[in-house]
Symmetry: C2
DNA sequence: CTACGACGTTCCTATGTAGACATGTCGAAG
DNA sequence: CTTCGACATGTCTACATAGGAACGTCGTAG
């Protein structure tokens, strides 16, 4: 149900088409809430039906520019401040950890080392994104940097944990 | 597709009924891979069809005791060592952060403070679980403690991040 | 001996997610 | 004037997830 609010949130920065939104999406929100193009278009349709967004203009190639409505903005604010975030942590990586006794210690260690490497790689990638968005002064960039910092910190924690855990084996 | 392996993993510790598994599940794996009872039962059926588990015994009340087969064990090991974990990070909490510009700074700060409190509370809860499982020497407990340590570390990071982020507003 | 809590499975519906596919238009480069 | 990449929307299927309802049985405390 959050894709709905992701779309509203992007539109709160200004009118855009589904195509535009998808591009914005890929470089920002997709990291915290993945979604496909088909989901996004479908959601925009429902949002329009519900009156939370309106079709502000139609352009070439059937382009529909959506704009958030007052109701949409109200819904977005309400969601941010009044609705408890559902926190369902889902991690295949951790799930495997529970079963590491089923492979031999050497393989278990390898698994954890691999996770540490993956975390390191993802940190690198986030660092480069950081350099890239450092300059943006729009709302999404400013607050996106907070989210990025979260990723950086959690990634570091994860890397350290994986190294520690590897040492725990045997 | 991971619930399948969660079930296999639990059965790798010994035969059990769906009901048994569900209880084990709730106190361990549910924290890293939530699932409902209906999902679990359905999965056990499919697993049996696929020959990865077998019905080892039938008990009172239609109880079916499932046991992992050689094929199942092989599949579990293969999954742990050879299959790249899919890492789809999904966080409503972070999604909201992107849109914090839409509420006033005071509310944004409150939101972040709230997240810090939630992290603190979840840390407390994990600490009490920690005391509880400290003694277990079975595989699930031993490796579960690694997963728990992950939760503890990430929770701490999250709390600190939220406090930092709150300070960044305005 | 009966009521009740724990045991135990199965079915159902709604919604979300993943990913591919179909369809077509516009603008610019050659 | 053709072709091609970017633009742009929409449909379809399969599977996963969420949550609840229905149904019945066993063991035991009173």
């Amino acid at each position: 149900m959050s894709l709905r609010h992701a779309a509203l949130g992007l539109l709160s920065e200004g009118p855009a088409s589904g195509y535009d939104l998808m591009k914005m999406f890929e470089v920002s929100l997709a990291n915290v809430w993945p979604a496909t193009q088909s989901q996004l278009y479908a959601e925009l349709g429902k949002l329009a039906d519900a009156g939370l967004v309106s079709v502000a203009a139609e352009g070439p190639r059937g382009r529909k520019e959506y704009a958030i409505t007052e109701e949409g903005l109200a819904e977005l604010r309400h969601w941010i401040t009044d609705v408890e975030p559902v926190r369902t942590m889902r991690s295949e990586m951790l799930l495997r950890v529970f079963f590491l006794a089923q492979v031999d210690p050497q393989q278990a260690k390898e698994y954890l080392r691999r996770q540490s490497e993956i975390a390191a790689k993802s940190l690198e990638q986030m660092e480069s994104i950081k350099d890239f968005v450092e300059s943006g002064q729009d709302n999404l960039s400013v607050f996106g940097r907070l989210a990025l910092e979260y990723g950086l910190r959690v990634g570091t924690t994860q890397r350290q944990w994986a190294e520690w855990a590897e040492g725990q084996i045997r």
